[in-house]
Amino acid sequence: MTAAVKNKLRVATTSLAGCFGCHMSLLDIDERLFTLLEHIEFDRSPLTDIKHCGPCDIGIVEGGICNAENVHVLREFRKNCKILVAIGACAVTGGLPAQRNHLDLGACLREVYQTEISLEQGLIPNDPELPLPLDKVHPLHEVVKVDYFIPGCPPSGDAIWKFLTDLLAGRTPTLGHGLIKYD
């Protein structure tokens, strides 16, 4: 391994209660991915299929917290990553999944799995393998300390690129007009 390779920053990414749209947006930096890969290497990520996160410099988490497994994964990221980044509307605000927060969870499950008109003898899934849903969906900062936030649904590839290049260069990331977006 060359010295340059050793100095690469290790980055982990995951999608919790998200849609992978933010990961798609990360891929939207297109050919700049090659430049990025000169500076970083991926740890746990949908891109590597590594199942657990080891010690990392940067953890990028998409999606909010909607079930018990999300909490475990987020804590694993916080424990292992020097810098934790919440990416996208769901990670930052709870987003779309949090739109159930004013509804009763039991009523939601009954409507989806039992009383919905097309269902006959529906069952609410209760396999022990399935993580239990939380009463409410939470943004990441309500569960662990988050160092940086990139809002947007999803943030554009350009916003992600600006953020990452600022961070890699040792500057405080700032997005500015046109790149900071909540929608």
Binding site: T93, G94, A98, Q99, K136, I150, P151, T174, H177, Y182
Partner: protein, 253 residues
């Protein structure tokens, strides 16, 4: 025209006419002070506090603060902008501001202010309140989830439309927008599409039906230019205040 005096805003001389508030004088002079519940066409309300400045060392809402000759005003400072960011964050945490599904996105003052101040997160624990929408009116939708209690619709409906369709009810955390009808439904009021109250909502509470998302991304109000630039374009409009509203006086009898 009354005699012109000056005060200092962030070290620069700003002229003002007798009776002008600090924000009126600043905007007339092409100087932006972030604001939310202030609207050049209406009497200041002083409720959102986003326009807070330090005047001779004391914090005050610049929309209600009369300009005085020689006054030293600090606005574009880290301290004031931090305060404004916190206020915007609290508004985002208190309501349900889900921008990705909001028709007002791109045209919303609260959102644009968040962008301009660099608010990356609401920071606080979100309230996720339960606020059902009122879709009873054939032409208008009321989405209470996004209300920031600026009272612009209340002021416009009374002062301009002379209908007093809207009001705020409750106190403190319970304060909320209500519709002035026995049923509480918008359909049972005489609110109409062309009303000033409909036009003036800075966020996505009072929405016209069947026109949502008609404006493409890129052509929306705050897409090209930040609110700080946009506000200066809109600024020096003369106030057109009428003191009484027929409907209110009728109701008071």
């Amino acid at each position: 025209m009354s005699e012109t005096h000056t005060f200092r805003l962030d070290g620069d001389e700003v002229p003002f006419a007798e009776g002008q508030t600090v924000i009126q004088a600043a905007l007339s002079a092409g100087r932006y002070i972030p604001h939310l519940c202030y609207h050049p066409e209406f009497k200041p309300h002083g409720s959102c506090k986003v326009c807070t400045v330090k005047a001779d060392g004391r914090a005050a809402a610049s929309c209600t603060l009369p300009a005085r000759a020689g006054m030293a005003v600090e606005s574009d400072t880290e301290e004031m902008n931090d305060l404004r960011r916190t206020l915007v964050q609290m508004l985002f945490a208190e309501g349900n501001h889900f921008c990705p599904s909001c028709e007002k996105s791109g045209n919303c003052m609260l959102q644009a202010l968040g962008y301009d101040l660099g608010v990356m997160t609401a920071g606080f624990r979100h309230f996720f309140p339960d606020r059902p929408v009122d879709a009873s009116h054939p032409d208008l939708l009321l989405d209470f989830n996004r209300c920031i209690l600026c009272e612009l619709c209340v002021r416009a409906s009374c002062e301009v439309d002379e209908k007093c369709v809207f009001a705020l009810s409750g106190r403190g955390l319970d304060k909320h927008l209500v519709v002035n009808a026995v049923s509480g439904r918008l359909a049972d009021t005489d609110v109409a599409l062309g009303d000033k109250a409909v036009e003036v909502c800075p966020v996505g509470v009072i929405l016209k039906k069947r026109v949502g998302f008609a404006q493409p991304i890129g052509a929306r109000r705050y897409d090209a230019r930040p609110i700080s630039a946009q506000a200066l374009d809109d600024a020096p409009r003369p106030g057109n205040h009428r003191s009484g509203c027929g409907a209110c006086e009728e109701g008071a009898k």
